[in-house]
Symmetry: D2
């Protein structure tokens, strides 16, 4: 089959690889109808994640089940499914308690948590390919209505929509609360959409890219261009000087100032500044324990305004989203027309155009917000 293969920093190709096959009675094979490129695919793409050459990329996958192992009962051949980016065994303590993001079984490297097409997340090929092997298929796959309706909405269920939603959960967004979100990439925008769905009274989205801020305002949020105005002034004005109830970090360790210089602590500091005393911060932007490419925090040690956070009594939630905790409900919101995450899609391309897409997405070219690949069409 064809797949998007990482051949080294800034070099991906669409190449022939072996077809996946059932390796365990609990596996399923999914024919991929849509696979998205994610901002975190850029970490290996840029050579910042130790990905071995020859790896197949892609962890935002959906498609049609074409084969199932002998112990798979719930999922049937022909089912249309969303594949959560995290792989859970379904029977370890963490999976049982809803933390499929920290499965203790699936990742032989020992760190809790496994996934597709990502370094250190176990030996699972990515899904930017014609087919994908899904382990523990009955546990991991989310059933979707058959057919092709809502394809571009449902494809957000594998990662960015639940991840944005997870940010609102970690930040304790609730009806009537005010929310400030840093980062208007796909995840930040999905956090804004989620915050509105959860009944936030005010949602602010901070970025400096005009196209993304425009999408934020289309989602009903108030955009703040941090290169043009003071975030703190806007938030304090809007909240009688108290600060926002909830803050969401949707940027990660590559946070950079208006000049492009990286400051891993920059967004954390701003959040501590604009979230109210007793408030909560959800950090869904990725931070890493090691980053060879960073001068400031090669060991993942970030120096931020901790003393002020303590004085305010903030609560901070972190980490990867356990997709299964939310995806069923988000699917139903799509079906009922309450959620339309597809509105952030900027490009739909055949698999062959993945190399160009990676290049442009990595350069953050204007208008390249979210790229969908359609391998099986």
């Amino acid at each position: 089959m064809k797949a998007v293969v990482f051949n080294g920093p800034y070099t991906v190709g669409v190449q022939e690889v072996d077809d996946p096959r059932i390796e365990s009675p609990l596996d399923a094979i999914v024919s991929i109808t849509t696979a998205n490129i994610c901002g975190s695919d850029l970490h290996p793409y840029e050579g910042r994640a130790d990905m071995p050459a020859g790896s197949v990329l892609g962890h935002e996958n959906m498609g049609i089940v074409t084969e199932v192992g002998s112990a798979v009962n719930r999922v049937k051949v022909g089912d249309r499914v969303s594949v959560p980016f995290n792989i859970g065994c379904g029977t370890c303590r963490n999976c049982e308690e809803g933390f499929t993001s920290a499965c203790l079984t699936a990742n032989p490297e020992g760190t809790p948590g496994a996934g597709y097409g990502y370094p250190k997340m176990g030996p699972y090929r990515g899904g930017q390919a014609e087919q994908l092997r899904v382990p523990w298929a009955d546990f991991n796959l989310l059933l979707l209505p058959r057919g092709t309706d809502f394809e571009n909405d449902f494809t957000m269920l594998s990662d960015v929509f639940p991840t944005g939603y997870h940010g609102t959960e970690l930040a304790h967004v609730a009806p009537g609360r005010s929310v400030v979100i840093f980062g208007a990439g796909a995840v930040g925008l999905m956090a804004a959409h989620s915050a509105a769905i959860r009944g936030a009274s005010q949602v602010f989205v901070v970025d400096k890219e005009k196209d993304r801020l425009h999408l934020a305002s289309e989602l009903g949020a108030t955009p703040i261009d941090f290169s043009q105005e003071s975030v703190e002034d806007v938030i304090m004005d809007a909240t009688r000087g108290l600060g926002a109830d909830c803050g969401i970090e949707a940027v990660g360790y590559q946070a950079h100032d208006a000049s492009g210089e990286e400051h891993p602590e920059m967004v954390l500091d701003e959040l501590v500044g604009v979230v109210r005393a007793t408030g909560s911060i959800g950090v869904i932007g990725v931070y890493v324990p090691e980053d060879p490419a960073s001068d400031e925090a090669p060991d993942g040690r970030v120096q931020f305004n901790w003393g002020a956070a303590w004085e305010k009594g903030l609560t901070i939630g972190t980490g990867q989203c356990p997709v299964k905790r939310y995806n069923r409900y988000l699917r139903d919101l799509i079906i009922e027309g309450v959620a339309t995450p597809s509105m952030i899609v900027s490009h739909e391309l055949p698999l062959e155009e993945a190399p160009t897409a990676y290049e442009k997405f990595d350069r953050r070219e204007e208008g390249w917000t979210k790229v969908l690949l359609h391998p099986a069409s």
Copy 2:
């Protein structure tokens, strides 16, 4: 009346000051039967908190109501009461929602949160004195059974017992969970007591002072002397390599290694290391946004192992304890014999001996765990 007055770094005296009086119809005057010296009294004592000379110290107070304002109805003259260290107005949003630690009204300095005898917590005199004025008395005072029973237990209700308990709340301690607590001072010990009361399966307390570790083991916890053994080894052995479910920071920004050198990030790093993926950390040790005495973190910016915390998906709760959220229930646990916080008391002294007590407590002389002053006896 007599009171313990701060006259400059390392200099306190027992001096005559004006008697307090009813200033608002909502005030009460309390004759102090017991006032404790707290580890955080040492911040101003050491000149690290900008306390003006002439201030009366003390925020851990209890006593008998001797006078009430005209709008005080619930509390009566003669009532025995515990005075929470935080002062709440009872009608701002934060007080209403149980965050009396972040009252928006009581502190004219503008920062949320007010208290007795502490710099930047508003114009409220401390209670290491014969009498204390309590604002919003109906809201703030906790009624105790009249008489003198349980005096040394009840005196822990103003701060250290609820603060330790708050640590277990922030760390999401629940029945059957394992808990590691850094710091065996009064607050850490109260966290250990609280964790046991809440049904933790295993409680570890880390320190290097033998007398304090001994108290930890008397409370049923497993002591770990970090100057003698590897905390990580002990915790990983006890938890099948997964780490503790819950971590509590009861040390604060003056964390220091076995040699006495301060490292404000030291305990946070250790907690990130020994708490399991998906776990929670409660930080009740005090961190400050400014510390002129510190070379490492004068601006409260602490560089800790944030990338690893994110990778583990930890939740971190911080800040001062809202005493009223817990003190009623902790009082009832004392009355029913379930809790006995008095077991950490090392000294009971008359008010006059406060200067000596401060000196010895500040030097962490062996056996000086918790000092009670009895001004009104």
Copy 3:
């Protein structure tokens, strides 16, 4: 001043009564700009609540503060305020924990919970009058933006909007869940509005009055006319045979079938039938421990399908809404344009027309959904 006075069953008049005055330093006097008639005003109106003749009716009140007691600090003369229907002292255990609906102090009759203009809720006159005395004013009053904007929305904050919202809280409505609401009166409609704001995927409203069902559909809910179709069929079809996640009872003990005959257990039985196993039911419709007018349940003992509820493992929440827990957030949702509870208003009348309004509202004349009186205009 003028006030709506209950003179006996089915007899109310607009009469002169004494002006209210400050009785405690914690009181405020409010000039009533809007007072709504509530479905529960009909219980005394119909002689089913032992209301003494001469009582002033009305517990849904808002207005302008005209006078404050000497210990009132937060609220100022000239402030525009919403008056929650429950009266809390602010310092008892229940008030502290957010249960102002069960204040232990305010009601001298001994039962927890006090309110305005309602039998057994304490000696507090109602607000269908030119003025109202509000006890513990700093604690009870919610500040609104000055002026007249959103008057018809804000007037819903005293009772029906928070009460409807409380139903969604008791029923554990959350994003993506399905909700079935019995009763399309003001409270049921506000529950539907709240469920949508909280991100429910599907909201069903059951009634038999066409005008009310029409309002439900305008709020985005799916109306079900139980006199025309089987509620169970509709819900099971829409939920793959599982039942709704959440159920809300917004009818109360006067539930009656299509023929008008009362069956206090009818709606409870239906909810047990259509809510899924593991689901939750919030009961905001009023049930009473004594109802002399009822043959079926004079002692409030209702025989419903309890065995089936247990088998399904349902959770059931009951009781009056503690308005203060929600009104601040609902106010902000109104200000930001997310909530528009005024859409259920059918009539705005001067105080003088109260008798006619009661008569028509009691007869459930078509189109009489929600009546606002404007005493001070």
Copy 4:
């Protein structure tokens, strides 16, 4: 193999039946070391549950794994395991969300929820036998330390200890709260043990059997003999007239008065009377939607004091315990010596004596609190 077989009302025998075998790649076979007789085994025993003759009884099982299907990976032959009484598939929505008590897959009868050896809970043989087939073994089985330590404690993990604990969860037992438990059978006693572990300040247990009340007091609870004293008087005296914070129903539909007459509403009425306004009730005693043997409630419709419950604003949780939600933590509490559920064991018998044990247990002979059978020893 030998098994306890139901041959008709009041008639059980120890008979040869076919050995169980692996039927699905996800099955395991467990050699039963201990199987307890449960109070709910008496429902079929007495002919009140439509059990077909020839059924093998028993849902409280533990033992050693002797064989596993080809897709079982986590559990190994030789592992010592506890078998939760509910059977979950691990991949349906309810299992995923922790409601293994309402698995949507395992019970072909259509009702959510499946179990061993119980009518209408699916085609699963009971475990009062030498061996037991366990479906979805990786998901359902709880690993125990190998060997024989704590056998009589661990055997409580299959049902009564988690079920008692579930009662405390449904009743929102928390540190410092007061709890009243009706029923001092095994489940009620386990609820009392759980309440103490969770830090309740006061625990009351109501029954009329002296041996059981004695066990309650050995667990640290205050026994109340309802045939001798007024429950309401005791509770009100102990709670300053407010009532208990939490109530637990551990009796079920066969509740009977001191004379032995059944009143299914009796305990519910008492709970509504003695639980405080705003309090919570957890109902773990079994109620059924049909009971042919009952005159009062053949259709499961129970007439209790609902109006009073509503006026108090009570929350009521019901239903079977989802054992897996708790058993891991309760196991760890046993291992660490915090919990000792074995203290309720009255008899340990070989399988052959099951008929006698059923007879005496059903007659509630004094001292027959909890019977363990040891088939494999």
